[in-house]
């Protein structure tokens, strides 16, 4: 469980997050949605510790991020897997080396054990026979899959995905969504997905938080989002043709 309490963050005096309160539950795909510039990525970066909040608290379980020592933060990071928007696979390493990378630093496993675990993770995301390829030899969808395999390599309790479908075709997007959802349930992870893709939201959004101009305007799930009274959220949803048709009963 991740709990965000009264979180504020600004840059050069301009507020970007204005008092965010939200809880992310384990075993669920928790979505942060909103238009570009609404503060989704800033919230995600605060959650994973890449940015320091101006005020407010973020708790992992019963541990507050602000009161953790550097060592405790380092320990927590081992328990966090992240899928970056551009996958962020290491150019200097092959597919298998990318997945083995966190294991090399944080486990005492032998090479054979690390390789076995990496292959297990790659099989989970359906990347087979590409162990020796470099990231630039993979398609965008494959890179995302390898990114997920690397994120789950140390069997983390928390998984963060920043725009997992950006730049992917609709079919691959669905596969990636299903993959994230399946992994979340199988490993009982607390998964937080940052997206503005309506298909993903309706497909895997167990819990949805809508952000608008730095504030959290609405919280719900994929069953209630289409019946919302929140005008800003309706406007956001209606930008998507399929969702608009559902709302308008077509």
């Amino acid at each position: 469980m991740i709990k965000v309490e009264n979180l504020y963050k600004g840059f050069d005096g301009v507020p970007v997050l204005k008092g965010i309160n939200v809880e992310y539950e384990p075993g669920k795909c928790n979505m942060i949605i909103g238009a570009s510039g609404s503060g989704k990525t800033v919230l995600l970066k605060n959650l994973i510790g890449l940015l320091e909040p101006d005020s407010g608290d973020i708790s992992y379980g019963d541990r507050k991020l602000s009161s953790m020592s550097e060592k405790e933060k380092r320990m927590l990071r081992k328990d966090i897997g992240i899928l970056f928007q551009g996958s962020a696979l290491f150019d200097f390493a092959t597919v298998i080396e990318n997945v083995m990378f966190p294991m090399e630093f944080f486990t005492d496993w032998s090479y054979a054990q690390r390789k076995e675990r990496a292959q297990f993770c790659l099989e989970k995301v359906n990347v087979i026979g590409s162990d020796a390829k470099f990231p630039n030899e993979l398609s965008g969808g494959m890179q995302k899959r390898v990114g997920i395999a690397r994120a789950i390599a140390l069997n983390p309790s928390y998984l963060f995905c920043d725009e997992p479908n950006s730049g992917l075709d609709p079919y691959t997007s669905i596969l990636i969504d299903e993959l994230i959802s399946n992994i979340t349930q199988e490993f009982n992870m607390t998964t937080v997905v940052n997206t503005h893709d309506m298909n993903s939201i309706l497909e895997i959004g167990d819990k949805i938080a809508f952000m608008y101009k730095g504030s959290l305007l609405w919280q719900g799930d994929k069953n209630t989002i289409l019946h919302t009274d929140c005008a800003e959220l309706r406007e956001f949803i209606c930008a998507n043709t399929l969702a608009r048709n559902i709302i308008e009963g077509r």
Partner: protein
């Protein structure tokens, strides 16, 4: 501008503090060290070798054409070529050339990792990205660059010898006598030290510029250019200071 400079110096020092933390795994560090030694030093051998060979030859011709006075022994051509190579060319000039080659390589590599979030990914895994990426580059270039200096010296002398041998601009025996005359071993140490210092500056300043690159591919290009310009100026400044301190 002065404020900006102080901020940059402070950030550079904090960056070095991150870089010089104890490596998480020594095994990984040594593996990276060997990779970087290959990428930064071994791959520079050809460039340094070719330049040194030609400059050695050119120095012989230039020095010989300036020492046409019959009262001056021709062996001084060899002596002056050797001293020019040891004192300035093999360390400072080669370092300036490496500032372009190594500096742009390091800054663009780390810069592109920064803008594609690879460094963020490492940090989020709890890996000291600065230590993992930069420390092996700094250690490899600082420790192994004196070998490039010695190679440059040997090939510079050889270049001079080949020109003497084929053109007979001065007698070959005089050149060899000059090369061996009044040898001061301290000058070689001084030159090795300079080379190490300059390569430390190249690796650390280029890495610093790459590590804090922002603004997409344009930002990477900018950081690379910034690294080369800054390093070149600082190498010349450090050359002046070190020479004053060590030779006088």
């Amino acid at each position: 501008m002065l404020k900006k400079m102080f901020i940059a110096v402070g950030r550079y020092i904090l960056f070095l503090k991150m870089v010089f933390r104890r490596p998480d795994r020594w095994r990984i560090f040594w593996r990276q060290f060997i990779n970087e030694a290959d990428k930064l030093i071994i791959s520079s051998v050809l460039l340094v070798g070719v330049i040194s060979l030609f400059i050695g030859g050119v120095l012989v011709i230039q020095t010989a054409s300036n020492l046409e006075n019959p009262l001056i022994d021709k062996m001084y051509v060899g002596y002056m070529v050797r001293e020019s190579l040891i004192l300035e060319f093999c360390s400072t000039m080669i370092a300036l050339i490496l500032a372009g080659k190594m500096g742009s390589n390091i800054a663009s590599e780390i810069g592109s990792m920064r803008i594609t979030e690879q460094i963020d990914a490492m940090d989020m895994m709890g890996v000291n990205s600065a230590g993992f990426l930069v420390l092996p580059k700094i250690v490899a270039s600082t420790l192994l660059s004196p070998l490039l200096m010695l190679l440059s010296l040997a090939l510079g002398v050889l270049g001079g010898y080949l020109v003497v041998e084929f053109t007979q601009i001065i007698p070959t025996a005089s050149y060899i006598t000059g090369i061996k005359a009044f040898y001061n071993g301290f000058y070689v140490w001084y030159s090795c030290f300079k080379m190490s210092l300059f390569c430390f500056m190249i690796a650390s300043i280029a890495a610093y510029n790459g590590y804090y690159a922002k603004g997409g591919s344009l930002g990477v290009g900018k950081s690379s250019t910034q690294a080369i310009v800054t390093t070149s100026i600082l190498i010349l400044l450090a050359d002046l200071i070190v020479t004053q301190l060590m030779l006088y």
